[in-house]
Symmetry: C3
Subunit: 213 residues, 3 copies
């Protein structure tokens, strides 16, 4: 198995995790099968679609339809067998795979945008974050849930940190691109996993708000 293969299989696992966690997250809202497929698929491919539309390049899934098929099948599976997926252990497993997915997709996107020379040095990290969390944002808006921007969960910030670090590596140490990408994916995942495991939240000093609330 080559590194390219590995990257593909991890991306597919990430797609499954995005779709499954999307369906689980709307389970309590009594959606139907169609809505589950739409929300699962949008969560899985929405962020990368927005990125490619901003980059003005062909959307990634048009050439590689596996992303769509896998997302649809995973959404249907999560819908049909949600009692299985909702079990504590399985649910936790998918939370961690979702954490790996945002790490992978964020870093991959940062590299893609960097290679296109688009909006360097800001856009690669910015579009990395959009790729990782954009699908989830669209899902929350369409499903009328609280968007992650309004929650205190530590979800997007690790991606931002990793993507900025990877941008620095691409700028100042491009010869360590491969090692750097693996390290940044590991770093994002480690922070996210710690946040899941210890229920870490954004600390109070990084919050803003009137005293009224």
């Amino acid at each position: 198995m080559t590194l390219g293969d590995l990257s593909f299989y991890v991306a597919m696992a990430g797609t499954v995790a995005f779709a499954v966690s999307a369906v689980l997250s709307v389970a309590e809202r009594k959606v139907d099968l169609f809505a589950a497929i739409v929300l699962g698929t949008i969560t899985a491919v929405g962020g990368g679609t927005v990125r490619d539309m901003i980059l003005d390049v062909p959307v990634f899934w048009a050439q590689e339809l596996s992303y769509i098929w896998v997302a649809v099948v995973a959404s249907v599976a999560a819908f049909v067998a949600y009692r299985f997926f909702a079990r504590r252990f399985i649910h936790a497993l998918f939370l961690y795979v979702d954490g790996l997915a945002i790490a992978l997709f964020g870093i991959q996107a940062t590299g893609k945008v960097w290679d296109l020379g688009f909006g360097i040095p800001v856009a690669p990290a910015m579009l990395g974050v959009i790729t990782a969390i954009g699908g989830g944002l669209i899902r929350d808006v369409l499903a009328q849930r609280q968007t992650l921007l309004m929650s205190r969960e530590l979800y997007a910030v690790p991606v931002l940190i990793g993507c900025i670090l990877f941008t620095l590596i691409l700028a100042y140490a491009p010869e360590y691109r491969l090692e750097g990408s693996i390290f940044c994916i590991g770093l994002i995942f480690a922070i996210r996993a710690a946040a899941i495991h210890w229920s870490l939240q954004v600390p109070e000093w990084a919050m803003m708000g009137s005293k009224r609330q």
Copy 2:
């Protein structure tokens, strides 16, 4: 009158139906004229605009501004004369024309995406559904109504069925494209009309949800 003419007039009727039903659906929210025009026009052209942005082709209304003019005029008319449009008979008429519009726009889009060879075999039906319901989704998000994904109304599923069937015809019996497109439009409309007439909902077995709710 040629078939192309007929298709154009049906598309204009569909545009009117989209805009009018959008304005009627936000009437109880006390919107102003500007918001009525914006929501009516977005509902009418929003789905096709998202489709063309994903396809990376020029948006359809840039070359054929009638879509915009007709949507704006219909929105203003629905705003000014909403008591007329809100009458039981007229409102029902527009519901049915809206049903014809989602059928027509969905099948037209499926054919367009197929001809572009974009993401075959999945994308044509997928973008057909996005074209048909995308504008309504954006309207619901901007007007802060419950999106149709969260409702049990049988609205998008008939479009999906028709677009998948039309994709199969394009793949396996392209010589029957014209007859097939008319049949699929008729099928979508028939299911949708039945859903309107008998207030059909998504059946319980196709729903998901915790017992808590």
Copy 3:
């Protein structure tokens, strides 16, 4: 200082105003620093990004990253020093600068779309309005606030009036383009400033709604 320089500095001041007013508008929701930056930046560049995606031209900030930097820095500043920015006088100042920004961005966009010959005569004014208010709409959707379409504040209508007038000037008196653009920016700002100062609202006759509410 040339006119181009002036236009650039006004655009930067407008970007600051958009970002600061965005962060102030979500201050009571207890957002974190990351969300403040995301919402501030989306408000500042979101409308123009949607416009460029519809036009199918490169997004404006990819070539001129100052828009992003300025938006990020302004968002952080508003987050850190929001007690300062929330003071009555400072807040009012930013409301007026925001009014100047929607005027400037709307008219600039109308001219840009006109020069591209895109969807004349409708699209220039339409995309002018989208450029001016699109970022704010996306912010409200992501922050789950009431969108401005659902409010009675006189915000988008002055932009629409100015952009239509500027379109007429471009069509019938192109030799007065410069004077016309300054006049239209002034007109939009004047109406908006009057609306802020006297708390003007959309008049009752331009509202719609059932008597139930």
